[in-house]
Structures are given as C-alpha cells and as structure tokens.
Amino acid sequence: MSGSARGRTSESAAELTETQAVRVEAAVAEEATFGSLPLTKSERTWRAADFSWVTLSLAIATWAFLTGGSTVLLVGFGDGIAAMLLGNTLGLAIMVLGSVLLSQRLGVEQYRALKSVFGAVGVAIVVFTVVLVTEMGWSSLLGIMFGRAFTEISNQAFGTGFDVEGPVVTVFALAAILAGWFLLSRGPVAISKLNRFVAPGLLVIVALMMVLLMSQHSWTDLFAAEPLAPFEDETLNFAMAVEFNLGAGLSWWPVMGTLARLTRGPKAALWPAYGGIFIGTVVAQIVGMAAALMLGAADPTAWMVPLGGPVLGILTLLFVGFANVTSMASIAYSTVLAIKQSSGRVLARLRWPALCAVFLFFPAVLALFPSFMYGQFMTFVVISGAFIAAICGVIIADYLILRRQNVPMRALYASGPEDPLRFTGGVNLAAMLSVAVASIFYLWVYNPITLETLPIFRYATATVPTVVIAIAVYLTLNWLLYVRRGRGAYGQTDPFAAAGRK
C-alpha cells in the first residue's frame, strides 16, 4: 500500500470514528431529551407562569367538552357546576400530591422517580396496565373527535352525508393519529411550539362558543334545563357526577410529573398543576354542559356548524380538530417516555419515532370502534380513576409520610442486588397489594359498569375512601415488609437538606 493510500485509509478511519462519535453524542442528546437522565438546574426552565400556560392549554382541550356533556346526563347546569368544582378540586389535589412533588424535587422523569414507590418492576407493571390503557383511551378519543370534526366539515362543505359514527370517522381518526405521530416523533420542543398558538386559540374559541350559545338561549333556560338521562335518586345523580369529575381530575396523573420536572421549585409545580388544569377544565366544561343542555350534544362537532354558520363553524371545527392532534401528542409524550423507561432493553433500543408508532398503534385499533369509544366514555374515565386514586394514595403515603420527601436519587439509577430500592425482586409488594386492595374496594363501593353503589358512595364518593384505604393499607404493609427490616432506603439523610423548604 502506498503512503498516500495509507493516508486516505487513515483519514477514512478518522472520519468513521468521528461519525460514530457524532452518533453517540446524538444518542446521548436524544436520551437527555426523551429519556430518564436527571435534569440539571440550567435545563429546568419553567417558572410558575410557564407551567401554568402548559397546564391551561392541556386542560382547555376538547375532551373537556365531553366531560361537561357527560356531567349533565345526570344533573342540571347549577348542580353540574357544583359537581364539576367538587370533583375536580379533590381529584386534581390528589393527582398533584401523587405526581408533581416527587418529580419536581429531583428533576427526574415521573416513572423513574416512582421506582422509589413501586420498585423498578413494579413501575413497569403500573405503566403497562393502568398508564397504557388510560392514555390509549384518551388518545383514541381525541382521534375520534378529530374524525367526527372532519366528517362534519365534509358533510357541510361538500354535502357528503357521512355517518358521524361510521367508517369515515375511523379514516379521519387514523389520519389524526398519524399526524399525532408525526408531531410526537419531533419531540417536546415541536409540541410546545404548537401549543403556544393552540392554547390561546382554544381560549378564544371556547369564549366564542359560549357567546354563540347564549346569544340564542337565555341563562334562565339554561339553569332550568333538566338533566339529559338522570336516575330517580337526585342524591345519587349528584354523587355520580362528582365521582365522574373526580375521575377526570385524576386522569391527569400519568402525564403531570414528567412535565413538573422542568419547573424550578415545589410551589412552581404544585399551584400551576392544580390551578391551570382546574381553571381550564372549568371554563371548557361549562361550555360543554351548556351545549349539551341547550342543544342536546356536548361535542362541538355536532353543533358548531348549525350554530355558527358554515364558514365560522367549519373554521372552528378545523381548529378544534387540529387542537386534538397537539393534545394527543402532549399526552402521548409522557406515556412513550414511560414505556421506554419501563420496558427494559427490548423497547429501549427502539428509536424514538418507532417507539411513538408502537404506542399509537393501540389507539389506532380503538379508533376502529368510534361509536363504542364515545358510548363508554364515562365508564372508561371512572374505571381508570379507580386505579389512579389507589396509586396516588400509595404515592402520597410513601413520599410525603414515610420518606418525608427524601428519595435517594442515585438509587433510582442503581440495579442489581446492591440496589437499595430493590424491594422484593424489583417489586414493592406493599405498594402493589395496597393498589389492588384499594381498587377492589373502589369497584365494590361503585361499580361503573353495573352502576351499583353502596350507601357510603352517596355521601363520601368512592375515590376519597379509596385514597384513605390505600394510604392506611400501604403504611401498614410497608412497615411490616420493609421499613422495620431496614429495607427500601427509608429514613436516610436528605442530600438536599440544605435546599430548605418553600
């Protein structure tokens, strides 16, 4: 080989090494963006106002119309507002205490942080059951709502006469899920950029909808309107409406901790997570309730064109449709992160876009049944709320009571026999048993499928006693299994003690 040939080979090898190095750097950057590495202070850029905008934009998304419409199936407008306030304030408080505080203090993604509560394998069990099913359902519903909006646009603009529960809805829903994948695969920056336009736009549209509605109906009529499909027992109707709103508040749990890790203090996480969601939900849900009572349908895809006229109606539906895509990407982001964390080496090896596609495959399957998904909306929200209430109870007991907000950060990344958070083969049996017991209790007090209830439900709801039971059972079992045996890294020195309290 000549000297120049050797030189070229040497240059090629150097280029190859450089290319490999770039790829490695890219993998690290990707992991830092999409993965479980703890964030440093310089990366935690959200102040309370920033996080409030994020939560407000999530809450004011189109699912709130459905929640409002479902509430007035059971109660009228006045009682609906009371049920909405009561259910959401309690549900959101439980959700916030069970999600944002832990991730915020450490700057660590929610499901990595939850290793301290459930163990590494326990977190995977939670993710692949409760979290996956919950977020699949919401993503699918958003896709179907997009499908209904575009079917309605087609009917109005081109006179097509498609059934709003038929196969055309599925086609549009699948297109929405594909668009959601496209946005999601470009990461959280793309999502947050779009949300800056979508959130204020939705605020304007919600206000516009209410003005349009009330320009054709009086407040007296609205408050006098009868609920759409109540039971005979008024107390039971109100309790069910509260319980449904509790479930809606709790349903934010899978995504909130991961968002809160970007904030710069516990109060900047706590109040925006609660207040932003609460205000956004209340505003949009009131429109959903009013529309359902006055027009017979909560879903704006059904009444926006008749109410606003073809031009305004279609423009609004277009915006609502695309807003569903950004909402879908926002909630799917945390779920895909969770899947990546919890799947071990199998899915962790997949590139981010492929992983997003794996997750969105399941909502795509559900989108084949648009009528079923819309029809079972209340049942879905309440059942997922039953498990999330129990999970939040266990997290509150572990993080706030047993650990006193002190989690050993390095142990979250440890593995093998020396892992202080190994519990029993990677599972905190006390946590899993407590979730099981409390969830079964919930379904015993209130069966959302048969709608059978125990007397306690009428006055205490099912969620509140479920959280109390989850806390009590967990404290007892965890002390017996781990704390008294010195396992689980309880009672250690707080490495962040000097950071103080806020």
Partner: protein
Amino acid sequence: MNADTRLAEELERRLTHIDTHEAGDPVHAKLGGGSLALFLGVVGVIAVGSWIAGAL
C-alpha cells in the same frame, strides 16, 4: 466507546453536578408545611363550598 458507556458517563456527570453544585439550591427544596397547609386549605374551601351549593 459505545452509546451505553457514554450514557452511563453522562448520568454520572449529571448526578455529580447535582450533588456538588445543586444540593443547597432552592430548585431542590422540599414543599414546606405551611405551603402544603395553604394548598389543602384552598382545596378544602372549594370542596366544602361546592358541596354546600350542590346540597342546597
């Protein structure tokens, strides 16, 4: 050096940075008892108020 090694190094770099430079930073502050009490108080007032409104 493969990606796993680099990631492990990056994790260690971040943990060390947090241990040495951020341990006393308010970004890692606990939620104080007063803040928690205020939060629960606001939640309680809204809950009781709306429960009474629903009962009337």
